[in-house]
Every structure is written in C-alpha cells, then in structure tokens.
C-alpha cells in the first residue's frame, strides 16, 4: 500500500459517514478525532487550527455549539457511558491556542471578482472567509455597528463573552475582507442594487422577523419577542421583568431569555413548550443549566390567550397531546379540548423562531427570488443565500457549515470550476495512541460558577473552562474512530486471542460475508470454514488490544481522514490535519 491514498470514491465517503459519526454529524464536517487527539498529545494550537479550518470560530462554538456531533459519538452508546464532551474540548483548544493560530491559511491568487456578503453573523463570516481564501474581493455589509450578528446581539454574555467574538471575527477579516457597517438590506440598497455593483451577492442577513403566536393579547405591554428581548439586553437597555416570567418556546433563544430574566431579578421563571423536553433542539446541557438556575420547564402546553388590560397579567394555556404525522413522521402537538387553565405572569417572552426578510423595500428584483434550501442558489444568477437566511433560524454550526458550502458554489459560479472538495485520505498508522485504562473513563464535567454567583451578575461567564488536566482527561475518552482496524486473513492462524480479549465482541470469524447493502456476516466457530475475519467498526472502540495480542501481526491500523482538497496553481493541496504531529498546517 502506498504511504497515503487519496480517494473521492463514494464508498470511502460513506465509510466516514458510518464510522466517524461525530465528523459526519457536524454540519461543518469538523475533523473531531484529529483535534481531540491533538489536545490529548499536548498540541492545543494545532487542535485549534484543525478546528478552525472547518468551523471557523472554535472559541465561540466551544461555548455555544448545539453539539450535533455528540449525539452521534460512539462513547454515547448505551453500554459505553456518555458521549465525549467534544464541544468543551473545542473550547479547551481555543483557550490555549497560541497567537499565530489563524495565520497559516492557504490562499488562491486574486481573481479580480467582487462579492458582497450581506450580514456579518456566523454564516456571513464563513462565506466571506472562504471566498477570500479563493482569491475574491469580499465586502461584508453589516447592519449593526460590529460584526458577530446573533452571536453578539442574540446570545447573552454569560454564555459567550464579547472578547471571544471580537477576536475570532477579527481573525476572519484579517485576511483582507472589507467591512461596511450600518448597512440595512432594503433600506440602503436592495438585492437588485447590489447585483448591479458586484459579481455575486450572498444574503446572509440572518432571521430577524419574529414569528407571532397569533393569539389575543400578544401586543399587550409586558410581552416581548425573544430576539428583541435579547437584543435590548445586549445593548444595555434592560427591561423590567417583574417576578413571574413565562417564556414560550423551546429553542436556544428561549433558554437564553429565561436565564437572562433570572439575572434581571425574576424569581419564578418558566419555559413552556407545546411538545416535550425530549423533542427540544437545544442540548441537554443547556436545559440542565437552565434548571440549575431554578427555571422550570413545563411541557405539553400551548398558550391560547395572553390576559390583561393595560399590561399582561396572565396566560391561558391548553394542555396538548402529541400525535405523529403519518406522512412526515413528525410529532405534532394538538390542544386537548376543555383543558384550559390560567397562570399569572408579570412578563411574557415569545421565542418561537424568526424568519428572513428582504427589508422594507423588498428585493428590488422584478419578482421575489426563491432559494434552493439545500444549495443556497437562487433563480437569479449570482444571487445566493446562506445560513439562517437560506433555511430559517438554525444553529451557529449549521450557519457556518452552510456558509462554507455556499461559498464553494459562488466560487464555482465565478470561476467555472469546483476548486474545493471533500476527499478521504487513508494511510497506514502506527498504533492506537490509546491506553486501555481510558476506554470507559467517565465524562469530565465542565466547571461552572455556583448559581448564586451567576445570578449576581448579568455578564459573568458561567462555564469557566477545563483546566489542563481536565482537558487531557476528557480528550483521552475519545475512541479515535478515525483509526480503522483491519485483519489480514491470510496471515491469521485463528488463535482467537483477539476474539477472547475483545471487550465489545466486535471481531468475528466469518464463513460468508455480504458487503452490500449492509455488512451482513455469517459467523462460524470452525476454523476450516472461515473465509474472513472481520472487525465490526461500528462496535469497535479502537482499544487496540487485538493489535497488541496478535502473535502473527496480521492486524493493522489505518488512519482515515475526511479533509478538503483545494486546486492550487501548483497542484492540489490537502488541508491535512497535521495536528497529530503537533504542526499547525499541512503545507
């Protein structure tokens, strides 16, 4: 086998999907095993660099990511404990990264093309960054005085400190992105105006138009939309919330609003949702932190009316029952007849999502453009949408993943070629880099301030970050699913030592094997019927015991990475995660 194989074969991409589930679960396809391994081996700057190539804002995401990766982490299998704290390790890398972490980036030669990116939030920053790397001239047009979008104005400082946003947004524009603030789409220029001035326009203006409950009393004083509420607080314009607060909605904004009202003096705060806690999109950690701060979560209720004359004084709710939609399989909450009940309240915050808007003047185009929710392309040449603007309010990591994808399409539109693509690299590897004692280690909790200290200040960060030892300890829990174990059956003497010692019964003597559509094996106990010895990678925890015990050394390890390949003038360049070796870049 050659030193390193580079593959674009769908089967190899599919191998990554099935076997490195955390990376595939990340909308930005962050190479998670590589960056955790770098932390484990004392290379936080390299870890940060691996992270930043995909998700651009590791310090931000290490604090507020919705963690779709952890949902897929093999360590979360029912008999293996809890998922690795991938998000918190990202922060550990960011907290320790050296000052040069953002400098080593490939850049393609200047193309002379100009692109306007409307919106300086996470997706706008991701689009701008990628397009600048492709050599285009990029201008971010931002409505607010500073870059950051929802990060800065929609998320409370106790979850995401201002300097972290400033640092990482600054790193993005440091590669030569122009920024104009105070620009409002549909006021200062329409989409049509921008298309006449630039070679391409990407709308990444987020979602700022809140959905309404559409129930009586919604316009009473004391009723806020969640986003407006957070933006007011983050501007320092603090609303009076009283004692009893009910937040309607179950997303991140709802959680943020509820936790913020506790810091504004509310003593009894509830989050009320139509479905159940299990259906929430926010991470379990986020729900846990809200509850630790004394916030109650009430499921299976729907507001039917907001009560009061001159100010909201109560909410009328109906209980709901879940039904599964036969077409979509989605659970839908239906109000139960005659189940209404009233609750007193001083402040109501409705946080049920937002939608995008072209602004007061509309798009300026002959007809309103439509966007492909998958690709971000519109039916108007050169006009694209990214992030929340593309497919309604989502998460920061989805916005960043979306921004990078859209940038590749814009580049293709401007240059006529797809110049960046995902490839799989496969190469022989030396060892497991793991010790058996780490296999079932328990999760290391994130240190956090006691509740009374949190509530004493509106801005003090709640999570204080892993210390060095905690970060190392947690990083050791990663099974490094990017290592692939293989058995060369021609060298195997069927001693079965590996099978006897395997802690998860994932090695099988097989008489027959069918690879497609799923790996199906017909196991056998008789050596003379064995046609293959297979390792079930889905169950394998990469402990390495088989490798070490094998008397004939017929077990080998390969390192599999899903990485970007970029067409540089001097040939293809692979942004390879040399974090494993302690370097910061693969060139």
């Amino acid at each position: 086998m050659p030193e390193r194989v580079i593959s674009t074969h769908p089967a190899d991409i599919d191998y990554v999907r099935r076997n490195i589930p955390c990376q595939w679960g990340c909308p930005a396809r962050t190479n998670i095993p590589a960056y955790i391994d770098a932390i484990c081996h004392g290379a936080p700057t390299a870890s940060y660099a691996v992270n930043r190539r995909s998700n651009l804002l590791p310090g931000v995401l290490g604090r507020i990511c919705s963690r779709p990766c952890e949902e897929f982490c093999r360590h979360g299998d029912v008999d293996l404990g809890e998922p690795v704290s991938i998000c918190w390790l990202k922060r550990a890398a960011a907290d320790r990264a050296g000052p040069d972490h953002a400098r080593a980036e490939y850049r393609l030669p200047a193309t002379g093309k100009r692109v306007a990116v409307v919106g300086g939030g996470p997706s706008g920053l991701a689009v701008a960054h990628s397009l600048a790397l492709f050599g285009h001239g990029v201008t971010i047009l931002e409505m607010m005085p500073r870059l950051g979008g929802m990060l800065l104005y929609g998320i409370p400082r106790f979850r995401l400190p201002d300097p972290v946003i400033a640092q990482e947004a600054g790193d993005v524009i440091a590669i030569g992105v122009e920024v104009k603030t105070g620009f409002t789409l549909g006021v200062d220029a329409t989409a049509a105006d921008l298309l006449s001035q630039y070679d391409a326009v990407v709308l990444a203006a987020g979602c700022y138009d809140p959905y309404r409950l559409d129930v009586p009393g919604e316009d009473l004083p004391g009723v806020y939309s969640g986003l407006d509420f957070m933006m007011r607080v983050n501007r320092g314009d603090l609303p009076e919330v009283g004692d009893l607060v009910i937040v309607i909605g179950g997303g991140f904004t709802a959680m943020d609003c509820a936790r913020t009202t506790r810091r504004l003096g509310a003593s009894r705060v509830e989050i009320d949702i139509r479905e159940t806690e299990e259906d929430l999109v926010v991470s379990r950690e986020e729900v846990l932190e809200a509850k630790r701060e004394g916030i109650r979560l009430v499921s299976l209720v729907a507001a039917t009316e907001l009560l009061g004359d001159t100010h909201v004084t109560g909410i009328r709710f109906a209980r709901t029952r879940l039904r599964t939609d036969s077409l979509t399989g989605m659970k839908i909450a239906h109000s139960i007849p005659d189940s209404e009940f009233d609750r007193p309240v001083d402040t109501v915050i409705t946080a049920i999502g937002q939608r995008p808007s072209f602004g007061p003047s509309g798009s300026g185009l002959p007809r309103t453009p439509t966007f492909d929710p998958e690709t971000g392309e519109s039916d108007v040449p050169g006009l694209y949408a990214a992030g929340d603007y593309r497919r309604a309010a989502s998460t920061v990591i989805q916005a960043i993943g979306s921004g990078s994808e859209v940038a590749e399409r814009v580049d293709e539109f401007l240059t006529g070629a797809r110049r960046r693509r995902k490839v799989v690299t496969i190469e022989p590897w030396r060892d497991t880099r793991r010790e058996r004692a780490w296999d079932f280690a328990e999760k290391t909790e994130m240190p956090a301030l006691p509740v009374d200290e949190r509530l004493a200040s509106r801005d003090v960060e709640v999570e204080t970050g892993y210390g060095d030892e905690a970060a190392a300890e947690e990083s050791r829990r990663c099974y490094l699913c990017n290592l692939k174990y293989e058995i060369k059956v021609s060298d195997c003497i069927y001693c079965r030592w590996c099978i006897d010692l395997c802690p998860r019964e994932c090695i099988h003597l097989v008489a027959e094997l069918a690879q497609a559509p799923d790996l199906r094996v017909s196991k056998t106990g008789r050596w003379n019927r064995v046609s293959a010895v297979v390792i079930d990678s889905d169950r394998c925890i990469r402990c390495g015991v088989c490798l070490r015990i094998c008397p004939t050394q017929c077990i080998s390890v390969k390192l599999v990475n899903l990485v970007d390949e970029v067409d540089m003038p001097e040939g293809p360049f692979i942004s390879y995660p040399l974090g494993l070796e302690g370097g910061a870049d693969g060139r």
Binding site: E277, L300, L322, S339, F341
Partner: protein, 339 residues
C-alpha cells in the same frame, strides 16, 4: 392466545400484578418478566429496617423464584434492557440478546430524583430507591456518626427517624422544595418538623444544601444556604423518584416526565403499554398529566394494563386511593404532576 409472548419490563408491584393477570387470562401464552435487578421481587418499604439491621434480605422477598416456576412465568433477573424497537417488536438486552414480543408492558418504576441544582456534587450524595442502594447504606452503617438529609420525601422521614432510633446524629434540612411531590401547607410542614424533632432528629427549617465537599473516605462537609458547614459521614438526598425511562429515549415512544400513555395505558406505539411509576396519563378532571405513586396504585395500573393487553377495553380512570402515614401524620396523595 397461543403464540402470544407478553413481555413485562420491571419486577415490581405493577409488573408482578400484570404477570398474574396475563397468566390467568392467557393460559397458553408465554409471559416473561425482565428485570435489571438481581434480587427477586421485594418490599421496598422494608428497606429502611434493612439498612439498620432490623431485618435480613430474606425478609424483603415478596415472591421466591418458585412462584414463577409454578405459574409458568419466565423470570429473567439481572438483565438490563438497553432499548426497544416497537417496529420489529423487539427488546434489546445489554448482553446483546434480543427478545421478541407480541405485547410489551413497561413498568420499570422510578429512579431517585436528584434536582439539577445539586448536580455539581451529586457524586457525593447517597440516594435510596433499590436494594442495591440499601446494601451500600447498610455496609456504611457501623461507621456513621452524623448524617445530613436533604430533600424530604416519604422515604426520607422513615429513614431519618430510623437512623435516629439507632443512635445516629441526623440533621434534616427542610427547604421550600421539601416534601415533593406533596404540596403541604405551612402548618402540616410544622407538624412534620415537630414529629421528626420528637424522634431526636435535628431539623433545620428553611435551610438548603448548596454544596458538598469530600474531605476523606466517606467524610464530607455539607454546605448550606444559611452558611452552615456540617461535618458528616453521609449526605442523603431524598427528592422522590422520577420514571426510569432513559433507555426508551430514541425508541419513538412519546416521553415527557414519564412514558405518555392513553386512558387504556397504551403508549404512542401499538402493542406497547406502560403502568406504575413510569407511566404518565392525562386526567381530564385535573386538566393535567399525572404520574401515580405508591404500591397500591402500581398494582392497580399493572392489572389494568394487562387486561387491555389481553384485549379488554378498560380505562385507567382515577388512581386508587393512597394514604401515606408518616410519624402519625396522614397524607392523602396518589400522584404527582410537575417539578
């Protein structure tokens, strides 16, 4: 009913009552009880005596294995269900075995509740819900001098007074969230406090646990909201029970606090039922969902669920009457709603 395989997850009062009804209603069917505990069906209320040596493990047993043999019920002890797949009517066990069922009843009961405010130091808190917990406490008993108890549920009062009776120093922290799931008036709370005091328990009203530091092997400092730092050998957390349904997440069943069931105790998936402390039902008269508590309720619901599994149509209706008597104080409660 030949060919039917009724599988019951849980070996408590609901599960056993259901198995009895299934056995008599379907003599030819297979009936299997699966439990992750290794010990046979036992009386939970005797655990408080067990921890101080007032009775032995043999005295806890409700039914011996002979009972199941005689009634042709397959009892699988020490086998943990890790997930269920209603689409293929299969339950998966931790040791990688699969069991097919035609009707499934989940009555896996509750697990001790630790409120989120105490999560940061939950590894230092002792809970009591099962024999396994009781064995740990019994083992520690000779070395216990001072015990701090926080929370306050049915078990806590009994454990506190039992410990005081055998000469242990017991400090009971009672805050506004104590007595869950009961919503007691200030007067009744006072009465509880006086009753505990008469038994030699030191009651600290309106104080709450805010932290626990380990200072050595089984040595702790319990920190309280009132500024107290209590040197102790054990911190007991008694905040009631919540449905033990973590293993059902991702199975497609509707879950809120408990496993959501309709009036006939059927879950959102065909052929899967739930009863006892893990089932949550909408009650029109309360305009709310409720989870029943107590041994008689569990038996009542287990029997109803089994009848529905056999093809009858029986509504759960209201819970059976449950009156708890603690230190001479009678409390009538049969369910809890929210926390």
């Amino acid at each position: 009913m030949a060919g039917e395989h009724y599988v019951v997850i849980g070996n408590g009062p609901a599960g056993n009552e259901a198995a009895d009804v299934l056995r008599s209603g379907a003599p030819d069917a297979r009936v299997t009880i699966v439990s992750d505990e290794f010990f046979p069906f036992y009386y939970r209320h005797r655990l408080r005596d067990y921890i101080v040596g007032g009775c032995d493990e043999a005295d806890l047993v409700v039914r011996t294995p002979d009972h199941y043999r005689e009634n042709d019920v397959r009892l699988r002890l020490g086998q943990k269900v890790t997930r269920i797949d209603p689409a293929t009517e299969t339950i998966f066990l931790a040791h990688m075995e699969k069991i097919r069922y035609t009707r499934l009843l989940v009555c896996c009961g509750g697990t001790p509740r630790v409120p989120e405010v105490h999560y940061a130091y939950r590894q230092h808190l002792s809970v009591m819900g099962t024999l396994r917990h009781a064995r740990v406490l019994r083992q520690k008993m000779p070395d216990l001098r001072r015990v701090v108890i926080c929370g306050g549920d049915m078990i806590s009062f009994r454990v506190a007074t039992t410990l005081a009776t055998v000469g242990k120093e017991v400090v009971f922290l009672i805050d506004e969230d104590a007595f869950w799931p009961l919503e007691l008036t200030g007067e009744v709370r006072e009465e509880f406090s006086r009753a505990l005091g008469r038994k030699g328990v030191e009651v600290r009203q309106e104080d709450a646990l805010t932290g626990v530091d380990a200072t050595g092997h089984d040595r702790y400092i319990a920190r309280t909201r009132g500024g107290g730092a209590i040197d102790c050998d054990l911190v007991g957390a008694f905040f009631g029970f919540v449905p033990a349904i973590e293993f059902l997440r991702g199975s497609g069943l509707d879950i809120e606090r408990g496993l959501l069931v309709n009036e006939r105790l059927q879950t959102s998936r065909q052929g899967v039922y739930a009863a006892g402390d893990c089932a949550e039902i909408y009650r029109p008269d309360l305009r709310n969902y409720w989870v029943s508590i107590g041994w008689p309720n569990a038996q009542h619901l287990g029997a109803l669920a089994a009848r529905n599994m056999l093809g009858e149509t029986v509504d759960a209706g209201g819970p059976a009457e449950s009156v708890f008597e603690v230190e001479g104080i009678r409390v009538n409660t049969s369910w809890w709603r929210e926390f």
